[in-house]
């Protein structure tokens, strides 16, 4: 699915401008990360792609098809089991119970939680809850997958594990993805392209291509190639930050 932002500006009633004239284009099958300091409008941009927010001027466009959205916290319903949560979007869309449950079990299988179908969110760890949340988006077979800092609250090992699972998912069944994160290594690991945002007002200041094989090879995180790409993204980020400091 193709996604495009055309001169997107978003200002809030309190006078802050989250985004100013930001433009980008994402091709079908591409996985793109938005990185930038807090308050740079990257999450706002993602919400506009999903239809949860509206630009003040400019426009956000996307092709037809199912959209999956994963929030920073798992946003599961605590009174439903893992399976009950994953089934929900299908049931709301009118899918028959038997078919919905079959597809939900398959989605839980993909994230490695088939054995936990009958557990309630309170009985699962933070990482497991996030995987249930991803399964709940997967079950809708989205063509566009939006992630709003989904692994920000998780510990480093769990985070790397989930990064790996997401990479495997992309390699086996490609989809278009947008991933908002604060973490440079995470953005480089997951993405085909990294868009760097500056803050206040948010603009896109760099568009970096990540040419790494997919699925990501074992030990990639310790390669000099990976370190160099991380350095490039970090440099672009500090440039943006310094310009902001200088302007202030």
């Amino acid at each position: 699915m193709l996604v495009a932002g055309n001169s997107v500006t978003r200002s809030f009633p309190n006078g802050t401008t989250a985004l100013a004239e930001a433009s980008f284009e994402i091709r079908a099958g591409e996985f793109v990360s938005f990185v930038g300091p807090s308050g740079c409008g990257k999450s706002t941009m993602l919400r506009m792609v999903a239809g949860l927010d509206m630009p003040t001027s400019g426009s956000v466009e996307r092709g037809d098809g199912e959209v999956g959205y994963v929030f920073q916290d798992a946003t599961l319903l605590p009174w439903r089991t893992a399976l009950g949560n994953v089934v929900l979007p299908l049931r709301l869309a009118g899918t028959k119970r038997a078919e919905a449950e079959e597809r939900a079990r398959a989605a839980l299988e993909v994230v490695g939680l088939a054995a936990y179908a009958d557990h309630r969110p309170a009985q699962l760890s933070g990482g497991m809850r996030m995987r249930v949340s991803i399964a709940r988006s997967l079950v809708q077979r989205p063509e566009l997958f939006l992630f709003d800092e989904p692994f920000g609250a998780l510990d480093e090992i769990t985070r790397q594990d989930l990064n790996g699972q997401l990479d495997t998912l992309m390699a086996t069944d490609p989809f278009t993805g947008i991933f908002v994160t604060h973490s440079v290594p995470e953005a480089v690991f997951l993405s085909d392209r990294v868009l760097v945002f500056s803050s206040q007002p948010g603009r896109i200041v760099a568009d970096l291509r990540i040419d790494l094989p997919r699925p990501r090879p074992e030990g990639l995180r310790f390669s000099s190639e990976y370190a160099e790409l991380c350095r490039q993204v970090s440099d672009a980020l500090s440039d943006a930050h310094q310009k902001k400091e200088a302007a202030a």
């Binding site: 239809g51 949860l52 959205y69």
Partner: protein
């Protein structure tokens, strides 16, 4: 300033680290059971002393001893039958009233949560209704609904309605914004959002409201007994009868019995609430 960072040979001896954490003091299980029992024993003791030692025999009818109350109201067949028959009549009205108040309260809470105009139209009057003393409405209700079962039920519903409305509304309003966004992304209809998100999320708050209202329904039912005297007598009317015949022992027994229903309902809703909350939150 470098002197601050300069390392000196440490000569002071090590001491054990003191435990600093503030203990809000819930106490042990034993304390939680023993303390209230102890309070009861002391109160009953003082009561007995006042009744048997301090009051002159001619004035003892003002405060019969705990034993006399127990004997007249619960141990003797006549008193017991009279009190529990009346209590059942009061309880029946309280229960029917509570169920009605729950249905009406939840219905209005849902309606008000679904549209701003509905909230603006009804909520101020729900507040006003709350501020009118129920006793002041008694004569009017008598004119409208008679002096029987119906009027007692109306008093009971009016008296217990408000906490159900406000608690349920609060519960519905407390749904997390992200969950609302998630349902928007699922393209859930208004009805689906209500059934699958708002009502289940509001359940604990609504139950807390029911628990408060349960006690108020019993009180409403007893108040109504005093004024609407046709039909089967309730505990309120019985208390008034005992007042006229100066049967203070029976009166106090009836009073104790009347609190029984409220206590049972309070514990019942509390247990349901704890079960629901334990189901949703991680085990500690």
């Amino acid at each position: 300033m470098t002197a601050l960072l300069e390392t000196q040979p440490e000569t002071r001896p090590l001491t054990k680290v003191p435990f600093l954490r503030f203990d809000p003091g819930h106490g042990s299980r034993t304390v939680r059971w023993v303390a209230p029992v102890l309070t009861l024993v002391i109160v009953l003791g003082v009561w007995t002393l006042v009744s048997t030692q301090l009051l002159s025999p001619t004035r003892q009818f003002l405060l019969p001893s705990p034993w006399e109350v127990l004997e007249a109201g619960f141990l003797q067949e006549a008193g017991r039958t009279e009190i529990f028959t009346a209590l059942w009549s009061t309880t029946r009205i309280a229960l029917v009233g509570l169920v009605l108040a729950m249905a009406i309260g939840v219905f209005f809470a849902i309606v008000m949560s679904q549209a701003r105009w509905a909230e603006a139209s009804f909520y101020p009057y729900a507040v006003i209704l709350q501020t009118i003393p129920i006793l002041a409405m008694v004569p009017l209700l008598g004119f409208w609904f008679g002096y029987d079962f119906t009027s007692r039920l109306v008093v009971c519903v009016l008296h217990s309605l408000f906490p159900i409305i406000t608690n349920t509304m609060f519960g519905i309003a407390s749904v997390d914004d992200n969950l609302h966004d998630q349902f928007s992304l699922f393209r859930a209809s208004r009805w689906q959002r209500l059934i699958h998100l708002q009502l289940p999320a509001a359940l604990p708050a609504a139950l807390a409201g029911f628990r408060i209202s349960a006690g108020m329904a019993v009180v409403g039912s007893i108040i109504a007994d005093f004024f609407f005297r046709q039909g089967q007598p309730g505990i309120g009317r019985l208390i008034d009868t005992y007042r006229q015949s100066l049967d203070t022992d029976l009166m106090m027994a009836a009073l104790a019995a009347s609190s029984l229903v409220g206590i049972v309902l309070f514990l019942l809703f509390g247990a349901v609430l704890r079960t629901v909350e334990a189901h949703r939150s991680p085990r500690r």
